[in-house]
């Protein structure tokens, strides 16, 4: 099996997945320049989410909107909430941030309209906190990437060019981040999914897993480069990938088993989170086999110097 030989085909496959994602990131941005390329949930954007279950018949969404508009004030505008049905007899209502008194007023008015209700969930985050959390999330991802780059650099100090391994791992990681962001943008575009704090958690887990996977492949390159000193680099890397292929697939399968169990039986609250994790984990395995390790070869041959043409086999 020669994965390294076909490396540009695999890079192309990655691009085919990533580019549509980028397009949707752009589409979201164009659609709503204020919100940006990803539909951010209230954790990042600020706002309120009220989930209420009706014991009796569920009223029309327009009636609930009317209540919100009535309660809305200049200082605390909760006008024109976004109302989505939740199951058979509940609503998820999103608006701008509101305090608890406003919430009580709304609840009592809704109860006057439709009889007793149960508040399943109420969240309100002020816009300033949301903005700060968004910035911090960016910093967290950046810090994670930097820390991992440094760690790999240090862990591979025994081989030639240890920094390349760190850079390749981070590149593969960026690949997975882009894939997941693109998919999230697509879901956001079609299904209205919003990125919340759990999405960030998923993202950071994917980063961890992606690097975890890449390191296993690189570890084999590290070991083989000591054992087979005379082998040329391409063959060495390819051999390492093939040797770790079984393990990569088995591990991927076990993680996917547990995640699929979570998607099917874990309940609605974390479904979005787990689906993003699944996609990210899949992408993580792909990128460590088909991107990270081949990238080492691209760097070794300095292929960008002749427009990414492969070195002649004899060279």
């Amino acid at each position: 099996m020669n994965i390294i030989k076909n490396r540009y085909i695999f890079f192309l496959i990655s691009l085919i997945v990533i580019i549509p994602g980028l397009v949707f990131l752009g589409l979201n941005w164009k659609q709503d320049p204020v919100e940006g390329p990803i539909r951010l949930g209230i954790d990042f954007r600020g706002g309120s989410l009220l989930e209420i279950e009706f014991n009796g018949a569920r009223p029309n969404a327009s009636e609930v909107t009317a209540i919100y508009n009535e309660v809305s004030t200049e200082a605390e505008s909760v006008k024109d909430p976004i109302i989505q049905p939740l199951g058979d007899n509940a609503y998820a209502i999103r608006s701008r941030a509101m305090n608890d008194e406003t919430k009580s007023v709304i609840i009592s008015k809704v109860e006057a309209l439709a009889g007793p209700v149960t508040v399943l969930n109420f969240t309100s985050v002020s816009a300033s906190v949301g903005a700060e959390v968004t910035r911090a999330a960016g910093v967290a991802i950046f810090m994670a990437a930097a820390a991992i780059l440094l760690y790999i650099w240090w862990a591979f100090r025994g081989v030639e060019h240890p920094m390349r391994y760190g850079a390749a791992a981070v590149l593969a990681m960026l690949h997975d981040v882009l894939v997941v962001l693109g998919v999230e943008a697509m879901f956001g575009y079609f299904l209205g999914w919003e990125a919340d704090a759990l999405f960030l958690t998923a993202m950071l887990t994917i980063i961890g897993f992606s690097v975890h996977d890449t390191i296993v492949v690189f570890d084999r390159v590290r070991e083989n480069s000591r054992v087979y000193r005379r082998l040329d680099y391409e063959t060495l890397v390819n051999h390492s990938i093939v040797q770790t292929l079984d393990r990569s697939l088995v591990t991927q399968l076990t993680v996917i088993f547990t995640l699929v169990a979570l998607v099917l039986f874990g309940g609605d609250t974390i479904r979005h989170f787990v689906i993003i994790l699944l996609i990210g984990i899949f992408s993580g395995t792909y990128s460590s086999i088909f991107n990270a390790a081949p990238f080492l070869v691209v760097w070794e041959n300095r292929e960008w110097e002749n427009w990414f043409k492969r070195k002649k086999a004899a060279a």
Partner: protein, 457 residues
């Protein structure tokens, strides 16, 4: 590195028995043979986060301009004061933590009426000096006063004995607003007291009142609760006085802080509020546990079918892993949130990875014709660097997630990072030592050369 199989086997057995004891009991109770006091008496129930049991979580922030530095001491004091107020609400297990340098996370498990909780948190603690007339009151009594009431009605306690003691509304002479400063000191007998000075206006009121009421009781109340109710021994004219009660140094300090600032050392506003209904929580617990058990079963089946004998032993090690993790969650204790459970389930997948790495290595060495015992040793030592490095990177991510979650009071993110990190650490132990011990034990009792299919070869 690995020599004494019997030793490890007994350590593992002891750990498993201990873990089973912790996992299956609600309290750890060990009676002492020498006294009535038990040696160990600890509640080890699984602590569920708000998203699983229902309740209210709020994020409070210092309401000062963003560029002003908030002193850590102020935040801690504010937290302590809020904690006292919250405990007065009768909500059990209130958790308050300072998050970052200007926020406090407050969690009220089981609280459903968020308005009530929030309103009472916002309410500033008010100090009052109350005219009790000739009635002595014990500390801790809650009384009614005319301060802050919508219709100030003054009922003299000297009048006819009222039918219900609770119905008496006492007159407030002065409030904390007239206080200039308050410090902690000690009186002649070494008891902690709070020395206060009054503003000019306060001095006048207090001087007048104490002159006229020598020999009567004056109650000092905080949020209508009596802290102390001394007898006025002599007129206090200089605008200085002291409050004695049964204070410890800490409680005296806390009170002095409250008095100095009227209420909180810094103004606080609510920036985030989350309420989860209890039914949603219950359903989530049930579903996640189902998913976890199912995930575990599928992984066990898969490992056994794919790697045969070693796989079955790894599956056994995985059960040890689950028992140990649950034990740690209960002992530490880790508050389990929904993402926390997700993190744990994900760590099951990662726990298997270490074994997969080793077994793939084992197969390779066996195919290369090495004997079994040699192969096991080589497999373990060769797989170790990749297990070490890959898990280190996961731990690094966990650390960054934890810091992020801690700073922003995002307990979901924090919960996830804690369970994932614990899972990774426990998995290193089970995958490396437990599986290996099991494998060596099994090998003493069979000959591999007769059963290559047991190793999937």
């Amino acid at each position: 590195m690995y020599r004494n199989k019997t030793l490890w086997l007994s350590i593992i057995a002891a750990l498993v028995i201990f873990a089973l004891w912790v996992d299956l009991s609600k309290t750890l109770y060990v009676p002492s043979p020498f006294s009535d006091k038990p040696l160990v008496n600890r509640n080890v129930e699984v602590k569920l986060g708000l998203d699983l049991r229902g309740g209210l979580q709020t994020l409070l922030e210092a309401d000062v301009p963003a560029d002003r530095v908030v002193k850590a001491e102020d935040m801690t004091n504010a937290k302590n004061i809020l904690e006292n107020r919250a405990n007065g609400l009768g909500v059990s297990e209130v958790v308050m933590q300072v998050a970052g340098d200007r926020r406090i996370v407050a969690e009220f498990p089981g609280a459903t009426n968020s308005d009530e909780v929030v309103a009472s948190l916002k309410k500033t603690a008010s100090l009052e000096f109350v005219d009790m007339g000739n009635t002595p009151v014990p500390e801790g009594t809650i009384i009614q006063t005319d301060f802050g009431a919508s219709e100030p009605t003054s009922v003299s306690p000297d009048s006819e004995t009222p039918p219900d003691a609770n119905a008496i509304v006492y007159h407030t002479v002065m409030t904390g607003a007239d206080l200039d400063s308050a410090t902690v000191g000690q009186d002649n007998s070494g008891q902690y007291v709070i020395n206060f000075t009054l503003t000019q206006k306060g001095s006048t009121i207090f001087g007048d009142y104490t002159s006229k009421n020598v020999g009567k009781y004056l109650a000092i109340t905080l949020d209508k609760q009596v802290i102390s109710a001394p007898v006025i021994n002599q007129p206090i004219l200089g605008g200085q006085g002291s409050i004695s009660g049964s204070f410890t140094l800490e409680s005296a300090n806390a009170l002095a802080v409250q008095l100095r600032s009227g209420a909180l050392p810094i103004p606080i506003k609510i920036v985030e509020s989350r309420t989860v209904g209890p039914t949603l929580g219950e359903e989530s617990v049930r579903k996640s546990v189902q998913a976890g058990v199912l995930g575990l079963i599928v992984v066990i089946l898969f490992m056994t079918l794919y790697y045969r004998m070693p796989g079955a032993l790894a599956a056994l090690a995985l059960i040890v892993y689950s028992l140990l993790s649950l034990m740690l969650f209960k002992l530490i204790p880790v508050v389990l949130t929904l993402p926390g459970i997700a993190g744990f389930i994900l760590s099951i997948g990662m726990a298997v990875d270490a074994n997969v790495l080793i077994f793939e290595r084992l197969k390779e060495e066996l195919r290369a014709g090495k004997n079994l015992r040699q192969s096991i040793d080589i497999a373990w030592s060769r797989a170790w660097p990749s297990i070490r490095d890959s898990n280190s990177s996961t731990l690094i991510t966990c650390l960054i997630l934890f810091i992020f979650g801690n700073t922003f009071g995002a307990s979901m993110v924090k919960g996830f990072s804690v369970t994932l990190a614990l899972g990774v650490l426990v998995s290193l132990f089970t995958a490396i030592l437990v599986t290996r011990t099991f494998l060596h034990t099994a090998l003493d009792n069979l000959k591999f050369s007769e059963h290559p299919s047991w190793f999937g070869l």
